[in-house]
């Protein structure tokens, strides 16, 4: 008995060592990850890296991809398009990465996208959310996270059911802020012609002082305010707004990514209550074993709860790995085919099903919206009275073929 066990054990060890040797001989598959690691949005770069790294560790532990290990190289794009392009070129030319992934800022994503044609390096965007990115019908650009139009449409559908007529906007003055507000208000006005826009405020991304915008908003006397402010911008805005008692003067504040842990985490008890927030993944929502396993693994590895950016980067890397396995190749055209084949690649992420539409390479998925409420179990606000928007409701038409 003992001898048999030892023999089996020895054999297993041999196989593992041999596999390790084979893996070690092959050069790794390099993944270049662009994120914001400095300034207002820095917390997102951190969670993005942690999510991607967890996926890569899991893939490597189960033998890698195509018999090769994965290696992650993360760089800071500073949320600046010129820096993003420069760093992406460096990753492609010097580091010889096989894929570009990540990208938090919509403006950076739009600037980097053309490089994919030039160098035939596929780009998998896991965060930057402007709908314009996947409207370019770029053959080697894929987005594995939902985009801002899906968020804004869902927000408008929910807002249309509420009694508020006087709406105002405060959003970051760049691609993401403008496209979110335009989509939101267009859809809301379509459903509710009685809605009136009383003001729009456009502080720059990374603004440090929101006071003039807050006093202007106060004077416009909106009932409800839509905002695409995110990360440190949202944290700073909320703190300065609290000083003005701003959230008590309006009836509702709506933010499509307000419930990101990168925002409600630092805010703690300062977060406004009863506001309509979404997040592209809410770690407490899905009761599936996949989600539970992911939350546990992430929490034990990094000592914090997974934010949506962490999950989107985890799921994005896993989905890319699925495409590589399906293609059995790293070639850009083979990857494109793998994503598009069989009516679009689907992947069961911790948050639920992700489906990539073959025409425009945009993933569609269910969305979660809820109202902020204090929690006894966590040091931040959580969502209650949750509305799930099913994946089928997030689909919008595309002109890509």
């Amino acid at each position: 008995m003992n001898r048999t066990f030892n023999r089996y054990f020895g054999l297993m060890l041999l196989v593992v060592v041999a596999a390790e040797l084979v893996l070690a001989q092959q050069p790794p598959i390099k993944i270049g990850e662009l994120n914001v690691l400095s300034g207002s949005f820095a917390a997102y770069g951190k969670s993005g890296r942690q999510g991607a790294q967890l996926a890569i560790d899991e893939i490597n532990a189960s033998g890698g991809l195509l018999g090769r290990k994965l290696e992650l190289i993360q760089v800071d794009d500073q949320a600046k398009p010129d820096v993003g392009v420069q760093e992406a070129k460096r990753l492609i030319l010097d580091e010889k990465v096989n894929f570009l992934v990540g990208i938090d800022s919509s403006s950076v994503a739009l600037a980097v996208a053309p490089l994919t044609n030039e160098y035939k390096t596929p780009l998998v965007v896991m965060h930057g959310a402007t709908p314009a990115l996947t409207e370019q019908c770029n053959p080697y650009v894929f987005r594995t996270s939902n985009n801002a139009r899906m968020d804004a449409n869902a927000a408008a559908d929910l807002a249309a059911k509420l009694p508020y007529k006087r709406w105002a906007n405060i959003g970051p003055d760049y691609e993401y802020g403008h496209s979110s507000w335009n989509d939101f208000i267009a859809r809301l006005k379509e459903k509710r012609p009685d809605v009136e826009v009383v003001g729009e405020q456009w502080p720059k991304g990374g603004e440090s002082n929101y006071t003039p915008y807050i006093t202007a908003l106060v004077q416009q006397r909106p009932e409800a305010v839509f905002s695409a402010l995110w990360a440190g911008d949202l944290v700073t805005f909320v703190r300065q707004s609290n000083a003005f008692g701003f959230f008590k003067q309006i009836k509702l504040f709506v933010d499509p990514i307000g419930a990101a842990l990168e925002s409600i985490g630092p805010l703690g008890k300062e977060a406004p209550l009863g506001e309509l927030f979404s997040t592209r993944y809410w770690f407490l929502q899905s009761q599936s074993p996949t989600n539970k396993k992911f939350v546990d693994a992430y929490h034990s590895k990094w000592g914090e709860w997974p934010s949506y950016n962490a999950e989107e980067h985890y799921a994005g890397v896993q989905m890319l790995a699925a495409a590589v396995r399906k293609a059995n190749s790293l070639d850009a055209d083979a990857i494109k085919k793998a994503f598009e084949a069989d009516a679009g690649l689907t992947y069961e992420a911790p948050e639920g099903k992700k489906w990539m539409r073959p025409a425009d390479h945009q993933v569609f998925e269910a969305l979660v919206w809820g109202y902020t409420t204090p929690s006894n179990d966590y040091p931040f606000v959580v969502l209650k009275d949750i509305t799930m928007i099913p994946e089928s409701d997030t689909v919008y038409p595309t002109k890509c073929k």
Binding site: L37, S38, G39, S40, A42, A43, D76, D173, Q201, W202, G206, S208, N209, T211, P212, Y213, T215, A216, V218, Q219, G232, V235, T236, R239, Q240, N242, A243, F244, G245, F246, K248, Q249, P266, E270
Partner: protein, 293 residues
């Protein structure tokens, strides 16, 4: 615009003026006494905010006692920087001084990135000032009023120090005639260290008390030093009341400018500076130079 809202904007402008004054007054003081154009001044403003953030761990409840520590740390940094670096270029040509302080700006920026991280820092309203006060029926941040009070008190104390104490007289004297003061047996090098440390301490104080008003991240030092120079140029280099007047003017211009042309509010401050440079190059309350050196 109704009267209450006019008042709201005016008070908001005063709050940013308070922050601007604390930032710029040290720059003015240091230039007046040492003749040093301190390009690193904004870095010390940022350092004060970083110190406070690090001490409080971002929790505003410990704001007030950690504020004292942050200011003390800034004073020490100021004294050390003067002893180690500034002293060596005091008698050199101006471009040495500019190169040195600019180098300090870059070094401090990178060192703070290493020590405090590259992400943004922000903090809630300090203890006792969490709730707004109602002014003419409109809620207004109580801390903004507190900040205006702090800046006013600082201006008054500085004036009393400069004009009503013996040491203050020496500070004013050294701006006039360094050699004479040395001949009279005054320890001028020590005086310089004290003035520089106080200037830096004021910048650190300004940065720390401004943290609830504005988040900081990398790049804040450059923005701060530009604002500080605008204030000092408009007010007149070396003039305490000029700095105060210019800070109020620019704070109000930005507050009301943001209402008229939100995207261009920063431009108004530059326009004011350009006008002052054209028509009154020595600043609003500065003294016109009798001899150009």
């Amino acid at each position: 615009m109704t009267l209450p809202f006019f008042f709201l904007e005016f008070m908001t402008g005063l709050a940013s003026a308070a922050s601007l004054f604390l930032l710029a007054v040290g720059l003015s003081l240091i230039f007046g006494a040492l003749g040093i154009v301190n390009f690193a001044h904004g870095s010390f403003f940022a350092l004060g905010a970083y110190f406070l953030f690090a001490l409080t761990h971002g929790d505003a409840s410990g704001f007030w006692h950690y504020l004292l520590l942050a200011v003390a740390a800034s004073l020490v940094v100021g004294a050390v920087v003067e002893r180690v670096f500034i002293r060596r270029v005091l008698n050199r040509a101006e471009h040495y001084q500019i190169l040195l302080t600019y180098a300090l700006l870059l070094i401090i920026e990178d060192v703070s990135k290493i020590c405090f991280g590259a992400d943004y820092k922000s903090i809630g309203m300090p203890k006792g000032f969490e709730m707004p006060v109602f002014v003419l029926g409109i809620p207004f941040p109580s801390y903004y009023l507190g900040l205006v009070g702090l800046a006013a008190a600082t201006a008054l104390l500085l004036w009393l120090f400069l004009h009503r104490t013996r040491y203050g007289t020496l500070v004013r004297a050294v701006t006039q005639d360094r050699e004479m003061l040395e001949a009279l047996g005054v320890n001028v090098p020590l005086l310089f260290t004290v003035i520089f440390a106080v200037g830096i301490g004021l910048a650190g104080f300004g940065g720390a008390v401004s943290l609830p008003l504005q988040s900081i991240s990398t790049g804040v030092a450059v923005d701060a030093v530009i604002s500080a120079f605008i204030v000092v140029v408009v007010g007149g280099l070396g003039s305490l009341w000029g700095t105060l007047l210019a800070a109020i003017l620019i704070g109000e211009i930005q507050a009301f400018g943001a209402l008229v042309l939100p995207e261009f509010s920063i431009v108004f401050a530059y326009v004011l500076m350009a006008a002052v440079l054209l028509f009154r190059p020595w600043g609003l309350l500065g003294r016109p130079p009798t001899v150009r050196t």
